[in-house]
Every structure is written in structure tokens, then in C-alpha cells.
Symmetry: C2
Subunit: 308 residues, 2 copies
Amino acid sequence: MSKLVIVGTVAFDAIETPFGKTDKILGGAGTFIGLAASQFDIDPAVVSVVGGDFPQKYLDLMTKNNIDISGIEIIKDGKTFFWSGKYHNDMNSRDTLVTELNVLANFQPIVPHDYRNAEVVMLGNLHPSVQMSVLKQMDKKPKLTILDTMNFWMDCALEELHETISQIDVITINDEEARQLTGEYSLVVAARKIHEMGPKYVVIKKGEHGALLFHNDNVFYAPALPLEEVFDPTGAGDTFAGGFAGHLARTGDFSFENMKNAVIYGSTLASFCVEKFGTERMQNLTDKEIYKRLDQFKNLTQFDIELS
Amino acid sequence: MSKLVIVGTVAFDAIETPFGKTDKILGGAGTFIGLAASQFDIDPAVVSVVGGDFPQKYLDLMTKNNIDISGIEIIKDGKTFFWSGKYHNDMNSRDTLVTELNVLANFQPIVPHDYRNAEVVMLGNLHPSVQMSVLKQMDKKPKLTILDTMNFWMDCALEELHETISQIDVITINDEEARQLTGEYSLVVAARKIHEMGPKYVVIKKGEHGALLFHNDNVFYAPALPLEEVFDPTGAGDTFAGGFAGHLARTGDFSFENMKNAVIYGSTLASFCVEKFGTERMQNLTDKEIYKRLDQFKNLTQFDIELS
């Protein structure tokens, strides 16, 4: 089975939305990416770090979902990364209430030896030097490296970010971050400038407005599935990235045509993620549910105009 | 040829964008709808009113584009409706600087007798009572009536708006207006509530984020074409409506499947409209350009996932 190396946080989240609030629940980019990627017939490993306070049941949950956790370091006398946020009524914006880095502050990722020959690497949102360190541990240059990042690193580690971006194949980034990174309002122009920084493929995530995939002059657009209710957007972007990476790892086909499908898989999985708090919906998703929703995506976007 | 009755303003616009500003140029919902609809092999008539200050060359331009202008009343000693606006840097919001209703204040539309048997009627954004008056002049209930409206009428003529909405088949409305009309943030829920007001089809326009078509439990999504530069958004929504109505009038097929295509045609024409000031780009658009862009829309949205 294809191996997929994922680096990202495994964390506690406490979330407040207009629909309710949670205590500390399972969260983190690595967790969401891993759960999404595990929907595919591949062998994903999450590289991360947690504290002694991290419950065994969460590790068991990941193992049960076919995620290899041998790369998750447990620092017994440390505390797990904790994030707390509150979403506004429109669900598109949020305030961060608490960020406790804890064991993440000195995170030095170690890719398990068994996974250093993986063909696909997914670098979840972390300090760009940490992302780079994962790349350097691979036996040889992976066939596809995907990087997710955020505005925080543009503010405080721009140079390292540029260096890491120059080494990867695909970047996933949201619209505001693409604008910040390039100083361009037009996403078409922003994508071109990001191409020039290195990545051959640029995925711009627009939340409820879907996602754009750019490759040279080619563009593909996947909407977000229109939902009656977005219950909790936490992890939707990571779930998108996990579905995207999972489909590509499974197929081993890194063409633009197949990346379109990867974007659709990512959007499909993200549409489930937001239906419940945290990872709840992603923990017991069936193939049948996924197929049904892919069919909805087809109906949502496919049309039949004959061009003469 | 299929007849299409269009009611809407024919006006002077003065526009300021980050790219420049215009003097008084040709504008108005009726004008944009007519120019878009005239791209199809149909017989569109615009019902409107202008003042004695309205240049013959603008009327000639419409005639040259196969738009019947016998329903445009000219009030010699009156002045043409004038609107002036200034777009902000993001091009998604604007301030209205001037609105001079002039001859529009007492507009009583008269549908030319030749067009009272038209099968499709497009009610451009106007007072809902004016829109209703056009419907009442038709010989019999048209096979398809499409209505565009805006928040202004929700604020000052809500009762008449509800009455007119209850009589039509398709409503085109933007996202914020759909939310205002229904009090619902979710566009899925808003569309359902608008269905309950009468229209069997609900089109929600999201500007640069595309458009959604709802019919009972069916949803279709068309993105806006990602553009390097939006030069002037004025008339884009009306151009969308004109393309939508034009395709439906030409085909006479009012099924949901064909409405998907109508949404794609509307989005395609709107993508041209914003490339230049006012109606400039729409005045000399070729079939070849339109086909090429429809092909871009296909590449932008179509994917090929086999569902087992």
C-alpha cells in the first residue's frame, strides 16, 4: 500500500460556536489530515508530538483508523498543544481564545524509518523549519510534497517559509493568506506569483466558497457543498488537505486531471467534517456515505453544453 | 424566433473604479439584459423609458444588436434616469453617489402588442408594481417569468414585492438580498423559504463567488470565471440574467437540466461584461469568443470520477 507521511499537530481543541461549546476534545491538523487520508486504501503515518496528558483512547482511535502512530512522540512530563477558539455567527471568522504550545514549542519531528521511502509527503501547518526538517529526513526526494501553511508564519518566519515553499510541489493556502503572501488581490495573479516561488500546483481554499486549483494556465474550481448548517468549521481545511493527499497517494497519478479529482475528494470529505464538532463526524464515515456525496458533487457541478 | 420581453431601466451611468472613471455612459438593467439576451438567436424587446436627452446613437446601438426598442418610451421634455457609483478597492462593494430617477419616477411600462404573446418574460430590477404591470399586460400567462430584484424594494415595497414574487417562476437575487428577504443566513435554507414564497427556481448570485441554482432538493453551482482583473462590475448581475433568460427563450426547454446550462451561459456572459467599462465589452462580442469561454467553463468545472 502507498505510504503517506503526514506531519502536523495532534492537539486538544476547545471550540465554541453559535450551536454550542466543547470541553477539550481531540483536534490538530495532523489528526484531521490523518483521519481524512485514512479513508483511502493507503498507509498513512502521522508525525507529531503529544504530552503525558494525551489519552490513550485518542491514540487507539487513530490506530483503529489505520493511522500509523509510531511517529507520534509522547513526552511524559509535558502537556499536549491546546487551542481554543470561538466562531462568530457567520461561521467564517473566529477569535482564538487560547494557544498553549506546550510540547509543540520544541517539536523536532522524527519520521519513522519505515516511512522514509514514502512517495507522498503532506506537511501540515507548522513552523516552516519543522516542515523542512521532515523533507530532509526522507531517503530521497518524494514524488509529491504538499504543504499547508497560514498567515502566522508569514508574520514571524517569512524567510524560512519562502525557503520551504521553494522545495515543495503543491501548496494549499486560503484566499486571504494567498493575498498576504503575494500582495495581490486577484487570486489569479496571486497564484501566478506563488508558482514563481516554487510550487507547480497552487490550491487556494475559499472556505464556504470552495477551492481553486492552479497549474500554469490551467484552473479548476470545486465548490463547497451548500449545507443547511455548518456546525463547526474546525479542521475543514486540514480535512480537505487530507482527502487531497490521500487520493493522490492512493492513485500515484500526479497529473493535473487527477489533481482535479483530488480537489473534489478533499471538498467532499471537508463537507462531512463541518457537520459535527471536531473529528466526531470523521471517526465513523462509511464508503457508502462518501460515494453518495461524491454523486451530489457531480450533480452540483456537471452540465452538458455541446460546443459546436 | 422566440420572443423575450425584458423590462428594465435604460439609463446613464457614471462609474468610478480603482482603474478609472467615466462620464455619463450607456447603462441600465434593461440595456445589460438586452445586450446579453441578444447574443442568442431570439427576438428580445426592451420595455423602458428615457428622456429627450437620450442619444439616438444608443437607441441605434440597441437596434443594431437586434433589440426591439418599440417598447422604449421617449419623454421629450424629461431626463433619463441617472446613476453614479464608486467601487471600493476590492470591487465587491460600492457607494452610490447619485441616483436621479427623472423619467423613471412615473414609469408606466407598455408592452408592445407584438410581444404580448412572448413565452418568456424577464422582469429586471424595478418597483415590484411596475414588474407586475408587465405581467398583467401579457395575453396569457407566459411559460416562464424571471424576476430580478434588490434590497431597496425589500426596504420600501416589501408587500408589493411579495405579491409579485408569488406570481413568477424564477427569481434571481444576490446572497445578501436572499438573507435579508428570508432572515436566514444559510443560503440552502434561504432558498427553501423563497421557494415557499412562489418561485419554483431560485438563483442566488454570489458575485465573484459564482451562482447557485435551487429547485426543490436539487442544487447546481456555477463559479464565476477567475479573472486576472475585474475592471468594472457594473451590469454583471443583469448580464447574467440576460444570458440566463436568452438561453431559455432560445431553447424553450425549462427543465432543471437546461436551467443549469442557462446558469453557465449567464456566468459566461457576465465574465465578459466586467472586462470593460459599462456595456463596452458586450457591444461587440463574437460567437467565437463565447464558445471559447464556454470551453474554459467546462475545463474549470468538469471532472471525471468514476463512482462504483
